[in-house]
């Protein structure tokens, strides 16, 4: 099996290397074919592996590939752990990636127009883009297939690197260049916590390997450590919170979420692949993978629950006031990531991963749909200049309707099962913060429906607000764009119905994500609803559907019935609008306080302590003092005999006096 797993990982890498280094020789078609073949092969094999796990013909695999280094008796390895959780992640990653690869052929077709004429980078931009997304697929697979913390961190940073390169892909755009640096730095803040978490795990559990760490942690769950003063902390709590800080960076949880909306400066295919479906869910995967560890710490789980709840509701709200079509979807992603994190915090890991899976399909669909609109609009993204696109782009419209219904959790659509699963699970949870989280996720349903239908109505319905030139050229996108939309729409509808019984209700993940007996909220949910249709029936008599309906009606009233209303509401509620419009001033705070303090400190240390104190006073000062002393001494040697004689006489007098007094 090692060969198959290696092949799954290396096929996209090979594609990336070929397209990246030999792009100009392969040409455009060559580049997209080698990467699509690589990722396609990887996808087929991943689906085969998933099928093997579903049928039960495959057993979990845990083995090393090579020893990275053996230092101080600690084995640092590259190795794979493939179980049911990994298999699902592999299938999701490679499938969405393959769809995005195909879609990119259409999206990047006239890529050279995005580059200045004299840019040598523009020549191979198309090939380079394919190399990057194939490289990303490799890194993401390494991340989900890792069996140890070293490889996890490797891949964690590698996906961050590719994200950095892709956000700044159009490097002549100042906003893109600002966004990619910001994304990398904010992620590094998370990774800072992540690395300390790994260090804590190595110190207390003595290994880098998951299985060994989990075994050691379970053997001594009450281990404590002291950080500051005499207070003793449970090691599991410290380690888990530190690891989760890493997850907060990558999965864009408050307060480390600020990079994700700006990451929309990158080309839309990567917004779908990296910043919606896969990379940003790495944090969710991390916590799910580490469930044996997190289960040991009630404190860490409560922390996670509250962070997720804040993200789910409050960042969803920001989506309501955005005008850029991609940013609406981006805030929606933030909010949905919050839902997943809430599930993790409630110990409903399967629900979190399940929502990750359904979300990957419908959110990739929504992003690619938005991209299709952007192609038609000649790369304009402001929804205020759209409207009435439904008749020009029916395939895009209907696939986005499907994606929206899945997103708001319309019964029987995939998103319904996963989101309702989370809400039900949180209702069962009883740890600190659970009530707050429950209220947030419930209100979040209304908000989700509001911003989703607002987008749909503003873009596809109502009057056509674009300029004459754009309207004349409006048309449906080519097949390479619409086929992936359709292929993603299918699982967006069906995947829930097909899989909810085993995955969410049936403990299919089992040993891949163990839950402590007292914490198993999903088992409590499963006890009440035993089938997919049972859950659907429940949907029609429970609150979330009516909240979603209220969101829909609000959007319909405000954007179809009374299009003048939003502007008036905005004036009426100026303060709330300002708060949302400024995204709670997180960016300003970070720029002023952290970046400002860092720059100020740097300048102070450089100009005052380094140049002023050390160089100015100590180093050059010493040199000057020596020079001055020498100059003074030189002055005493005047060359006049009477000076010397005078000094000698004075000296003699002083000496004599001293002798006389001490002799007594």
């Amino acid at each position: 099996m090692t060969t198959v797993y290696l092949l799954i990982v290396l096929a996209p890498l090979l594609g990336a290397i070929l397209a990246g280094f030999f792009g100009s020789r392969l040409g455009r078609a060559g580049a997209h074919w080698v990467t699509i073949i690589g990722v396609g092969l990887s996808c087929l094999l991943s689906l085969w592996v998933l099928l093997g796990f579903i049928r039960g013909s495959l057993q979990p695999f845990d083995g090393a590939v090579y020893t990275w280094m053996l230092a101080d008796g600690i084995r640092f390895e590259i190795g794979f752990l493939v179980d049911r959780l990994t298999a699902v992640m592999m299938a999701v990653v490679t499938f969405v990636s393959l769809m995005v690869h195909i879609y990119t052929i259409g999206y990047m077709a006239d890529e050279e127009h995005n580059w200045p004429a004299d840019s040598r980078l523009g020549a191979n931009a198309y090939q380079r883009f394919f190399a990057y997304i194939a490289l990303f697929t490799f890194a993401m697979l390494m991340l989900v297939m890792a069996n140890n913390f070293l490889q996890l961190f490797f891949a964690w940073e590698a996906v961050g690197l590719v994200s950095y390169l892709l956000i700044g892909f159009w490097l002549n755009r100042p906003t893109a260049v600002f966004a990619n640096l910001k994304a990398f730095l904010v992620n590094r803040v998370g990774d800072f916590g992540f690395l300390l978490g790994i260090a804590a795990i190595l110190l207390y559990f003595g290994s880098m390997n998951y299985a060994e760490v989990f075994a050691a942690a379970e053997a001594s769950p009450d281990l404590t450590m002291s950080i500051l003063g005499g207070a003793e902390w449970q090691v599991a709590t410290v380690a888990c919170i530190l690891l989760f800080i890493g997850a907060m960076g990558k999965s864009a949880q408050v307060p480390l979420h600020v990079w994700l909306p700006d990451s929309m400066e990158g080309p839309t295919p990567i917004s779908a692949l990296i910043h919606a479906a896969t990379m940003v869910t790495a944090g969710i995967f991390l916590v799910a993978r580490m469930s044996p560890l997190f289960e040991l710490s009630e404190v860490a789980l409560s922390f996670i629950l509250v962070i997720g709840a804040i993200t789910a509701l409050f960042l969803g709200l920001v989506g309501v006031v955005q005008h850029d079509i991609k940013r609406v979807v981006a805030y929606s992603t933030l909010s949905q990531l919050g839902y997943m994190v809430v599930a993790l915090g409630a110990s409903a890991y399967a629900a979190g991963v399940y929502h990750l899976m359904t979300h990957a399909f419908f959110k990739a669909l929504l992003f690619l749909g938005a991209g299709s609109v952007i192609i038609a609009m000649h790369h304009k993204q402001d929804m205020r200049e759209m409207g009435g696109l439904k008749k020009y782009m029916p395939v895009t419209y209907w696939s986005m309707v499907v994606g929206t219904l899945a997103l708001i959790g319309f019964p029987a659509f995939s998103g319904y099962f996963s989101k309702d699963g989370i809400i039900l699970a949180v209702a069962e949870a009883d740890r600190a913060g659970a009530t707050f989280a429950y209220v947030c996720v419930l209100l979040g349903v209304f908000v989700t429906a509001l911003y989703s239908f607002r987008l749909l109505f503003l873009v596809f319905h109502g009057e056509e607000r674009m300029d004459h030139h754009t309207r004349e050229h409006l048309h449906e996108s080519p097949l390479v764009v619409t086929v992936p939309l359709i292929l993603l729409a299918v699982p967006s509808v069906l995947i829930g119905l097909l899989t909810v019984t085993p995955m969410l209700l049936g403990d299919w993940f089992g040993a891949a994500m163990p839950v402590a007996p007292g914490n198993d909220v999903l088992a409590a949910v499963a006890a009440r609803y035993d089938s997919a249709w049972g859950l659907v029936a429940h949907g029609f008599v429970s609150l979330p559907l009516y909240l979603a309906a209220a969101g829909f009606l609000t959007a319909w009233y405000c954007y179809i019935q009374r299009p003048d209303l939003p502007a008036r509401l905005q004036q009426q509620f100026a303060l709330p609008h300002r708060i949302l419009d400024n995204k709670y001033w997180f960016d300003e705070l970070y720029l002023k306080v952290f970046a400002g303090a860092g720059r100020g400190a740097g300048r102070f240390f450089w100009k005052v302590t380094d140049a002023g104190l050390i160089d100015g006073i100590l180093v050059n000062g010493t040199a000057r003092t020596i020079g001055r002393v020498a100059a003074t001494l030189r002055r005493s040697q005047t060359g006049f005999l009477y000076h010397y004689a005078f000094v000698m006489i004075i000296g003699l007098v002083v000496l004599l006096t001293w002798f006389v007094y001490t002799a007594r």
């Binding site: 090579y66 020893t67 990275w68 280094m69 053996l70 230092a71 101080d72 008796g73 600690i74 580059w115 200045p116 004299d118 840019s119 040598r120 980078l121 523009g122 191979n124 961190f153 490797f154 940073e157 590698a158 690197l161 950095y164 390169l165 700044g168 490097l171 002549n172 100042p174 260049v177 600002f178 990619n180 640096l181 990398f184 730095l185 590094r188 803040v189 800072f192 690395l195 300390l196 790994i198 260090a199 804590a200 190595l202 110190l203 003595g206 950080i227 860092g598 720059r599 400190a601 740097g602 300048r603 240390f605 450089w606 302590t609 380094d610 050390i614 160089d615 100590l618 180093v619 040199a623």
Partner: protein, 505 residues
């Protein structure tokens, strides 16, 4: 000790020195023959140095390739050479870097090109001498001799303020080493021999050890350089020609780090234990404070120079947290710290060399090092931009590059010593990315800033070879560091045992 059947180390010292003299004797008229000869000599030296790897006996801490001949018999001074797992990788780093510097200086140096090449070759031999000398007088001679070619390199081919920089550089490092000589002579009286290994574990009284430690500290801390005796480095780098910066950063700084493991820790272990708080504090200041200073630099060379200091902070941090680790965990983790410091030295050799070469590539074309004069270089020099981003990422410690390995090991180990050490050291993740990538943002990314950038041509074949060689080294060490650890670990283990036995007792 493992004697050598033929004097390989002597060859590695004298081949480049004599080669350098030969290049010099060619006269300045024959520049093309001069650089060809320099290339052949440095290439041969590098190839011969590879025999150190192939012939190196793994799994032992003993000195290998040992050569022992009387030198000044009256004083019992010997021509005594040998390498172990600590010094051998540093010698390879030296021979490797010198080849690159020779290629990088190809046709770039108009004024006295043969003298330039000769300086680097002679420098190479001397540095190999520093790393392989097992007799303190021999060591001291090589140690001081290093200054001469470096002094010439900066003084002759340097920038406008080169005189200030060379004097500062010379005085700083010279003042530091004089005290070391006193310490070494004192140790000879105690040990009855000039052999370095005889000075280990003498069991001197603590007060004496502290004085010796301080004498060593001044010498080594200035070379590393550690805060607050670091201010000569940015000036020296800014004024030095590209090749000078490369050798300065890649090799000269390592001599200081090497001094700590070869002398301070094993010779005066009790004093090292008593003063480890000082070393740890200075190292962490280097990481955080210098990291912040690096971020604010406007001059690319200064930025890379400051980032060098910050990275070398990990070397000294790794070396001096071992006491806290041993006291807290009983020993596990200390070897990780020492190994991390060593790997960081090798890795920093590659990365800083690459960064200075990248800045040099830009300087050769634009004749400015100021960040504000650039912008959008990527549009005009895509290949160069690829290399530059790779090395900047390595500078920021990205996993998969060598920059990650040492920092990772030291941070893991620091956590075992004290949570806050790891916390402060870990800030390099943010600061390293901030200063490296902010520079990349302003230089490589963005729109083409001006006419001069617009006229830039991408790197030529010669520059490609140099940068590609370093890229391979950076990636190789990042993806598969196991062989390097395997070579170093027995020697580090012995060092650790030695230090623990005599230091903690």
């Amino acid at each position: 000790m493992l004697e050598s059947s033929w004097p390989l180390l002597s060859l590695l010292i004298w081949l480049p020195i004599l080669g350098g003299v030969a290049v010099l004797l060619l006269g300045e008229q024959r520049a093309s023959q001069g650089r060809m000869l320099a290339l052949v000599v440095s290439g041969l030296t590098f190839l011969f140095s590879l025999l150190l790897i192939t012939g190196f006996e793994r799994g032992t801490a003993a000195m290998q390739f040992v050569e022992l001949r009387p030198w000044v018999e009256a004083l019992n001074v010997n021509y005594h050479l040998g390498v172990d797992g600590i010094s051998m990788p540093l010698i390879i780093l030296t021979t490797f870097s010198t080849v690159l510097v020779v290629i990088a200086g190809w046709e770039r140096i108009a004024y006295k090109p043969n003298l330039y090449m000769a300086c680097f070759l002679i420098m190479e031999g001397i540095v190999v001498g520093v790393f392989s000398a097992l007799d303190v007088i021999l060591f001291y001679v090589f140690w001081e001799a290093v200054l001469v070619p470096m002094f010439l390199i900066i003084g002759i081919w340097g920038g406008k303020e080169r005189i200030y920089a060379t004097i500062k550089f010379f005085l700083y490092t010279f003042v530091g080493s004089v005290l070391m000589l006193v310490a070494l002579v004192y140790l000879q009286f105690q040990a009855g021999s000039f052999a370095i290994l005889d000075m280990y574990g003498l069991g001197l009284p603590l007060a004496t050890q502290v004085w010796l430690f301080i004498a060593f500290l001044l010498a080594f801390a200035i070379k590393v350089p550690m805060w607050p005796v670091h201010t000569w480095l940015p000036d020296a780098h800014v004024q030095a020609p590209t090749g000078g910066s490369v050798i300065l950063a890649a090799i000269m700084l390592k001599i200081g780090g090497y001094g700590f493991v070869r002398f301070s820790l094993p010779v005066v272990p009790e004093a090292s234990l008593a003063l480890d708080w000082l070393m740890i504090t200075l190292s962490l200041i280097a990481v955080v404070y210098i990291g912040l200073v690096a971020m604010m630099q406007q001059d690319m060379k200064k930025l890379v120079a400051y980032s060098s200091i910050a990275h070398m902070g990990f070397v000294t941090l790794g070396f001096f947290i071992i006491f806290d680790i041993v006291l807290r965990t009983g020993g596990s983790g200390a070897l990780l710290a020492l190994g991390g410091g060593m790997v960081q030295m090798i890795s920093h050799g590659f990365i800083s060399a690459a960064m200075f070469l990248c800045v040099g590539v830009l300087y050769d074309r634009m004749h400015t090092r100021m960040i504000r004069d650039y912008g959008g270089v990527g549009h005009r020099m895509p290949l160069f931009a690829g290399f530059f981003v790779l090395f900047a990422m390595a500078n920021a410690g990205l996993p998969g590059t060598s920059g990650f390995v040492g920092e990772f090991m030291v941070i893991l180990a620091a956590f075992q010593a004290n949570f806050w050490y790891a916390f402060l050291a870990g800030t390099t993740l943010i600061l390293g990315a901030a200063y490296s990538l902010w520079m990349i943002k302003r230089v490589v990314y963005g729109e083409v800033a001006n006419e001069k950038v617009s006229a830039l041509q991408d790197i030529d074949g010669r520059e490609k070879i140099v940068l590609a060689a370093l890229a391979v080294a950076v990636l190789w060490l990042g993806i598969y560091p196991a062989p390097l650890i395997e070579i170093m670990e027995p020697s580090l283990q012995q060092l650790l045992d030695n230090v623990i036995d005599h230091g903690i007792g």
